[in-house]
C-alpha cells in the first residue's frame, strides 16, 4: 500500500490545492510501480494550514498565477522525491530504474507503454540478474496495447546514471551488436534508465520502477501470517 501525507504552512485555497495535488499525483505517485499491484488503501493527502502567511493577501488562489504555478511545481518535485523513495525501497530492490518512453502520439499512450515495461516480471527479474535482455523490453512494448506502434521505428537504449555513453540495444527495429561487457557495466549500477523511442509522435512519459529481489519474494511469501 502507498500512503503519503504532505503538510505545508503555505496559505492556499481549497480549489487551488486540489488542482496542485491532482497535477502532482499524476506525475509522482501515479508514475511508480514496484510490483504492478494496486492496493485497497492507496491515499495521498495534503494539508495546508496557512501558518506561514503574514497577511490575507498572500493566499494562493489564482491557478494561472506565478505563485500557484511555483507551488504546484514545488509540490510535484517534492512528491516525486517521496515516490522515488518507495521505489528505492521496493522490499529489498537492488535497482532504481527510470523507464522513459519517447516519440509517442499522446502522453497516455507513452504512459501505457512505460507502465507495461515497468510491470513486466521478466524485465524486472532480468534487471535483478543484470542481464541485458532487451528482447523482454521489446516484447512488453509490443503487448502494451498501443496500436500505432510501428516495429521498424522502435529503438531501445540503456542510459547509465553516471553520464557515460548510452548503450544502444535496438535501433529502428534492428538489433545492435551489443557489447555485453558494457551492458553488464551499466546493469551493475544501482540506477539506470531504459529509454524507448517509438518514433511515431512527440509526447513522452516516465515511470520509475525497480527489480524483483529475493527479499521481495521472501517478504511476500508469508506476509499475512
Amino acid at each position: 500500500t502507498l500512503l503519503a501525507t504532505i503538510v505545508t504552512d503555505a496559505p492556499i485555497s481549497t480549489p487551488a490545492l486540489n488542482e496542485a495535488l491532482k497535477y502532482a499525483a499524476k506525475r509522482s505517485f501515479n508514475s511508480i510501480s514496484v510490483d504492478g499491484d494496486m492496493s485497497t488503501n492507496d491515499t495521498f493527502a495534503i494539508l495546508a494550514n496557512g501558518a506561514a502567511a503574514a497577511t490575507k493577501e498572500t493566499i494562493i488562489n489564482d491557478v494561472q498565477g506565478q505563485d500557484f504555478l511555483r507551488f504546484r511545481d514545488d509540490l510535484t518535485n517534492f512528491a516525486t522525491d517521496l515516490a522515488k523513495l518507495i521505489v528505492r525501497d521496493g522490499e529489498g530492490a537492488t535497482k532504481f530504474v527510470t523507464i522513459h518512453v519517447k516519440g509517442v502520439p499522446t502522453f497516455e499512450e507513452a504512459k501505457k507503454v512505460a507502465s507495461t515495461i515497468a510491470t513486466s516480471a521478466l524485465v524486472k527479474t532480468a534487471l535483478f540478474g543484470q542481464d541485458a535482455n532487451w528482447g523482454r523490453i521489446l516484447c512488453a512494448v509490443g503487448y502494451s496495447g498501443v496500436s500505432s506502434i510501428i516495429p521498424n521505428k522502435v529503438s531501445v537504449s540503456f542510459i547509465p546514471n553516471d553520464g557515460s555513453t548510452p548503450l544502444k540495444l535496438l535501433t529502428l527495429g534492428e538489433p545492435e551488436n551489443v557489447d555485453e561487457a558494457r551492458a553488464l557495466e551499466i546493469l551493475k549500477m544501482e540506477e539506470l534508465e531504459i529509454r524507448v523511442e517509438l518514433g511515431i509522435g512527440n509526447e513522452e512519459a516516465k515511470m520509475w520502477t525497480c527489480d524483483f529481489s529475493y527479499d521481495y519474494i521472501k517478504i511476500n511469501a508469508d506476509y499475512r501470517t
Partner: protein, 202 residues
C-alpha cells in the same frame, strides 16, 4: 524501526529537516503490531487546514479511504485539523464494523482537537482483519499528549509508525519561496510503501 535500516539504504533517511509551522506530530506503539514497533502516527494542526486527497481506484476501497473521502466532501476540503494513521492492519474489506472503527478513530482525534469531523484516517497492513480499536483509541490519546511541534524526531516517529514491510522510513522536508509574494513556506512529507505498489489514485 530505524535500527533495522540496511546499510545501503541509510543514506536515504534524513538526520535533520526544516518543518512547517503549526503542526504537532508523533508516532507511538499502540499494540496493532505484535513486535512492539511503532504503529500509530498522529499529525495535528494548530489551525484549520485546507485539504485535498486522491485515493485508490481499486473497487474494494478500504474503510478509511471511504471515510476520508466522505469527510473531505462534507467539509468541502476545509477545516481539516488532523490525520491519524495506523499500520499493521489495513481495515480493508471489513464491512460495516470496519467503517465504524475508521469513524471511531477519526472521531477520537476530532474530539481531542475540539473540532468535529476534522480528522482524516489512513490504515495500512493486512487486509480482511478488524482493527483492535480499543488499543488504537488508547494510542490516539497517548499520541495526542506526546505530539510536539516541528521536531525532526517527531517527524521521524511519524515516518516510522506508518511502515509495514518498508526497509526504511520515508521522510522529506524543505523550504520554498514564492516568486510574486516572496512568501517563504515549508513542506514536510512522509510516505510508506514497499510492496503492492502500482497506484492509480484519483
Amino acid at each position: 524501526n530505524s535500527t533495522a535500516i540496511p546499510e545501503n539504504k541509510k543514506h536515504l533517511v534524513p538526520t535533520s529537516g526544516t518543518y512547517p509551522n503549526g503542526f504537532k506530530v508523533t508516532g507511538v506503539h499502540c499494540g496493532v503490531k505484535k513486535n512492539g514497533q511503532k504503529d500509530l502516527a498522529l499529525i495535528v494542526s494548530d489551525k484549520p487546514c485546507t485539504a485535498a486527497a486522491v485515493f485508490t481506484t481499486n473497487v474494494f476501497k478500504a474503510a478509511p479511504v471511504l471515510l476520508s473521502r466522505e469527510i473531505l466532501n462534507k467539509n468541502s476540503g476545509q477545516d481539516i485539523r488532523a490525520i491519524v494513521i495506523n499500520s499493521g492492519c489495513a481495515n480493508a474489506v471489513t464491512g460495516i464494523k470496519g467503517m465504524e472503527n475508521a469513524k471511531k478513530m477519526s472521531d477520537e482525534v476530532s474530539k481531542l482537537t475540539n473540532v468535529e469531523t476534522s480528522t482524516l484516517v489512513m490504515s495500512t497492513g493486512v487486509i480482511g482483519q478488524h482493527l483492535p480499536i480499543e488499543k488504537i483509541i488508547n494510542g490516539i490519546n497517548v499520541a495526542h499528549e506526546k505530539a510536539v511541534n516541528g521536531s525532526h524526531e517527531g517527524w521521524m516517529e511519524v515516518a516510522e509508525a506508518i511502515m509495514t514491510t518498508d526497509f526504511f522510513p520515508k521522510l522529506r522536508s524543505g523550504q520554498f519561496t514564492l516568486p510574486s509574494s516572496g512568501l517563504t513556506y515549508s513542506m514536510a512529507g512522509i510516505a510508506k510503501g514497499a510492496g503492492m505498489i502500482h497506484p492509480n489514485m484519483a
